[in-house]
Symmetry: C2
Subunit: 284 residues, 2 copies
């Protein structure tokens, strides 16, 4: 049985609860981060903390725990749950208060929840086979740069992909791909240029995205940060997504159309290798 952290306590998962008045439950007034664990170490914890603080600031959510304390909780959970490969999930909500659209007093303590999941990150079957994705309208709210738990649409489209025999859904706004259900989206053009949407309110600023674009630079790949259409994606040489737990993950089919040769190509394969090596080396 997993041990879960809730507001200062380490408890068995069956006892890990929050108030029904928690604003995360009533208003989706909560943010989160997912940090991957490789060899029992945290990948890019600092990057996740930086984004966490950005989310907190954007939502004017009071929070006073130190990053070092959050790191200690991450480590404690990894240790207690004997996680070698997987993730630590961290969620912070604006706390529990009688239901009111108006924010509660800043003195109301936030709710802090952390739990772990075991997951094979390196030996990823999907990465070997390549993902099939469908495209769907992006109906999410217009501040996708803030990592909130307003994930219902992402969940619906990911589920729809599964029902249709696919692995994920890429969301499309005004004809251009924004991102996957829980990952950033990329295509590789004929000349090897890696194209991915530039950062804006429309997408999450992926921690893995930043690291992978750096890796791309190291292998001399040209990167263009610009929006691309579904039609561009369908004629791309390769396509892939990046996320904390998916690393670099090939996309081999979009709406039933094979991308390139229909198997993971050389660029994504090389990027996945380099990203994995780099992450392993810098994980702490």
């Amino acid at each position: 049985m997993r041990t879960v952290y809730v507001n200062g306590n380490y408890v068995p998962e069956e006892e890990a609860t929050v108030s029904v008045f928690d604003r995360g439950f009533l208003f989706a007034d909560a943010i989160y981060e997912v940090t991957s664990i490789l060899d029992g170490n945290l990948i890019d914890f600092d990057g996740h903390m930086k984004r966490l603080h950005r989310s907190l600031n954007e939502l004017k959510m009071p929070f006073y725990m130190k990053d070092a304390d959050l790191m200690a909780i991450h480590r404690e959970l990894v240790s207690r749950n004997a996680i070698t490969e997987g993730l630590v999930y961290l969620q912070i909500s604006r706390g529990a208060a009688d239901r009111d659209f108006i924010f509660p007093a800043a003195s109301v303590p936030p709710t802090v929840v952390l739990f772990t999941q075991e997951k094979e990150l390196i030996d990823n079957a999907l990465a070997k086979r390549g993902q099939k994705v469908i495209t769907v309208d992006d109906l999410r709210w217009r501040r996708c740069d803030i990592k909130t738990v307003q994930l219902l649409w992402a969940s619906i489209v990911k589920n729809e992909a599964k029902v249709k025999g696919a692995d994920d859904a890429w969301m499309v706004r005004d004809g251009f791909v924004t991102e996957g259900s829980s990952n950033n989206a990329y295509i590789v053009e004929g000349d090897g240029t890696i194209v991915t949407r530039s950062f804006s309110y429309d997408i999450l600023s992926g921690i893995t995205r930043t690291a992978v674009l750096k890796c791309a630079g190291e292998i001399g790949a040209k990167v263009e940060e610009r929006s691309f259409t579904v039609d561009e994606a369908k004629v791309a040489t390769e396509a892939f997504s990046t996320s904390a737990t998916g690393f670099v993950n090939p996309v081999v089919e979009i709406d039933g159309v094979k991308i390139g040769t229909g198997v993971p190509g050389p660029v994504v394969t090389r990027l996945r290798e380099i990203y994995t090596e780099t992450s392993r080396a810098v994980a702490v």
Copy 2:
């Protein structure tokens, strides 16, 4: 101390909890209804149940409790908490399951939570004074017709209104008012015509909206269901909002501009009277 209903149990509010793995908490994968209580009776319970089932269907959320059983819980809470005037809040989530964007098996039981709030509905200070509203961009997701707990933007703008010395925010998409933070929005034109946005994915199909438009018909007022701009609203004779707990609630100022004479006008005043009388008469 309030008694709260959670998954079959009546518990003191301090003990009313849900799992941290509840999909309402992790994915905002939950819907809700708010039924007003007047003289200890439920206002338009059938209307709320109808909309609840619509929300459940749209989200493909399995749910098997009978309306009669939900009504019995509403009544029990009203009784236990001695609510004469106020509301019963009902939330249903897709249940608790280890975190995954994919929906859990349909066999996972939904989470059902109900609680009460005392609130003066008739003797409403805001209705006497009239609301000041600000206008803000509508950044919400594109399925506002489904009553989900993805309420973060509504909460943010309501809070912003308060910070700016106003009472609520009207949301604007492509120049047209969609609705208030938790209510439908109306204007009254010079010839007495009541204008409110027609039902679509952009707004919630208000239970109170339906009842109030019926009341409008009864006093011979002309109703136009069409979108209106902020500029139209600013030169309207009257403006108001409707919601389950706000009833018919005058708006006397929009972005600092006085509406009509700056005090609640005759149309909204009459509508509030009729709606209150009607609700009281049919409440069960």
